[in-house]
Symmetry: C2
Subunit: 389 residues, 2 copies
């Protein structure tokens, strides 16, 4: 199997954007091409686009071809859209990765995009319900916030996790976002603000939740030979894992504070990458809600089961701690344009491992991890390194 | 790069189905698992689902996880939905193929599904417009039928192709479908019926067009080692190619009777497979409209440019001819449940190359080809063999 690396990355401004899908694609695509000297759109052999619901939000399928044309790309090997709810962008990176690892392609762009905000905020919120089981769950109101609230309630009951500890995840990620000019939110947040914000689904308050965000992100994935020719600082894909426990909430047989599929996905990625949790310098974890980041600390092996509250309270997931979690602000602070999220996480790891992250640089970062859940029962993990495995 | 093969295949009944996505997934998934002894749902390492618009037709994203759960599959390596309009199923097969070829997986199911018929046929027709550019084409009525009608008009003007020759594609594929118990249409058709059917977009009449169909199809893709252990008749993926000329009709710079992206995709697949057009025993080509099958004869190298009309009229694309095109009835006769189509084509090649196609068996078939276009400007080709390349 061939070695594979990222050689370029770019993101659009995230937020409530008066922009079309094309506008967002252009913004991220141009930033990505600008990030690497010597690649024009015609040079990439394909484009994979992660996007969840352009059919609903723009009455548009076939967005992979629209994006290729918008960017002047002529796919000669590979072209597709990938969708896997909140993990759509990362499964797109895995598509390109597999093609290049197999020797079927050498240079592929992966772009994620979502324009979620609609003229009616009711419609935007309604659309988010497509990610859970329509017939058996969403139709009865069991959308993402109540699912993750159940996980938070269970974690509090089982391990004594507190609202303050959940709030500290919001504080950290809003504060990180304030150093990221592309983030949805730029003002930071105090614990008082987070704990005083509106209740969404108890115990999750507004500032512990990711917002409805528009945005796009892109990376360029290359074979070893092309990567070394294009840059002296490729960022290598060292490992990946994906696992599913279940789709419906009722099919998750462990209690909701345990996410065994995340542990299995992480173990597969660590083994493949040849690294341990303690080797990870920064982790872009899927903090769709604060509880998700806390459970991720545990299942990714950054701390023991049940200790996530103490872990964040001690600053061990922040600058100067064990591992910097969500330096770009995470989904809570940077925003969560579904299909773009996984690609934006990879783009953050790319700049961090190259020492180009400016005021949010993680010192001496050599190993970065990204994690997405799509629902509570399905997880995908990527591990990147400044050196190949 | 590792060798990869199909080891199982199954399809649902195609047609106007009073069935949910889950029902169709169960039907095709069960048929596929039943086709190969010794594989249970828990044995496959992942599931890739090709589907275009469950967001519109069932308010459901994340259908890959819904399908996994419905079938009792627990993805441990790979899970994603792929969408590339009419080629969605085939790009899903390519996703699994790349993972297995790279050594990242050994046994993966690929399933395609679409439930297009709606209580209102107006809504079903409107939904089909998501495949073309919403802002610049679909909104002004330039959906698929007029696009392909322009190609037909051009082919007639340039090469003297006749309505009768277009009609013969409809006759052939409706006749083939009458031997396929899972086809949307089972009654066959005479040339008189085809030429007397309602005009859709001149010169394309109803029986020269694919219908709005519900259905699902599934295949199981395996590494060489697993394939040889599971069956003594694997069907090998020998080559694949994909290429794009353009998304918008206005960006296709050749006249519409020439599809150079199809020629490039086919050339890449032939080279990789080590076969020539004359070696192909059966071809599942993308006859969304009769003209598409005719242009495919030419770009795939079955006949010279401009000779497609004479080719079909001489019976050279039928049983006893040069190559049997669309033995299961094609999109015109079997139906076109978008995401399912590419997988159903692969399932047909699977049974044909194993000699299990019953009354529609192509004699001594050893090489089969599948082709999808997604729009007129983008094409994907797969070549399968009863022996590996």
């Amino acid at each position: 199997m061939r070695k594979v690396a990222l050689v370029g990355a770019g993101i659009s401004k995230f937020g409530v954007r008066r922009a079309s899908y094309r506008d967002l694609i252009w913004e991220a695509g141009k930033a990505c091409f600008d990030s690497v000297a010597g690649i024009k759109p015609r040079d990439v052999e394909g484009l994979v686009v992660g996007s969840v619901m352009p059919e609903r939000t723009a009455f548009q399928s076939h967005i992979s071809s629209m994006a290729a044309e918008a960017l002047g790309i002529k796919p000669s090997v590979l072209s597709a859209r990938t969708e896997h709810m909140c993990a759509s962008g990362t499964v797109g990176i895995r598509y390109a990765y597999a093609f290049i690892a197999a020797g079927l392609a050498d240079l592929v762009m992966v772009l994620g995009v979502e324009k979620l905000n609609q003229p009616s905020s009711d419609e935007a919120i309604l659309n988010m319900g497509t990610g859970v089981d329509r017939e058996w769950e969403a139709a009865f109101g069991l959308t993402a916030p109540p699912c993750f609230a159940l996980a938070a309630q269970r974690h509090m009951a089982e391990y004594g996790t507190t609202e303050e500890q959940l709030g500290l995840v919001g504080v950290k990620n809003h504060t990180h976002a304030s150093k990221n000019p592309n983030a949805h939110f730029g003002k930071g947040a105090t614990l008082e603000q987070v704990l005083g914000s509106r209740m969404i689904a108890s115990p999750l308050r507004l500032f512990m939740c990711s917002p409805i965000t528009d945005g796009a992100a892109a990376v360029i994935v290359a074979s070893e030979e092309r990567a070394r020719a294009l840059t002296d600082r490729p960022v290598w894909i060292r490992g990946t894992g994906q696992a599913l426990d279940g789709f419906q909430l009722t099919s998750l047989h462990e209690d909701y504070a345990h996410w065994p599929a995340l542990k299995r996905a992480a173990d597969a990625a660590y083994t493949m990458a040849g690294v341990r949790p303690g080797d990870v310098d920064l982790a872009e974890v899927h903090d769709c809600f604060a509880i998700a980041e806390m459970i991720a600390y545990e299942e990714l092996g950054f701390c023991k089961k049940g200790e996530a509250g103490a872990f964040v309270a001690a600053g061990r997931s922040d600058y100067g701690g064990d591992v910097v979690v969500n330096p770009r602000g995470g989904l809570i602070g940077c925003g969560h344009p579904l299909g773009a999220t996984g690609v934006a996480q990879a783009a953050e790891v790319f700049v961090q491992l190259r020492g180009q992250a400016g005021p949010r640089q993680v010192a001496d970062a050599t190993i970065g991890l990204t994690h997405n859940n799509s629902g509570m029962g399905e997880h995908v993990v990527m591990i990147y390194g400044s050196e190949p495995a």
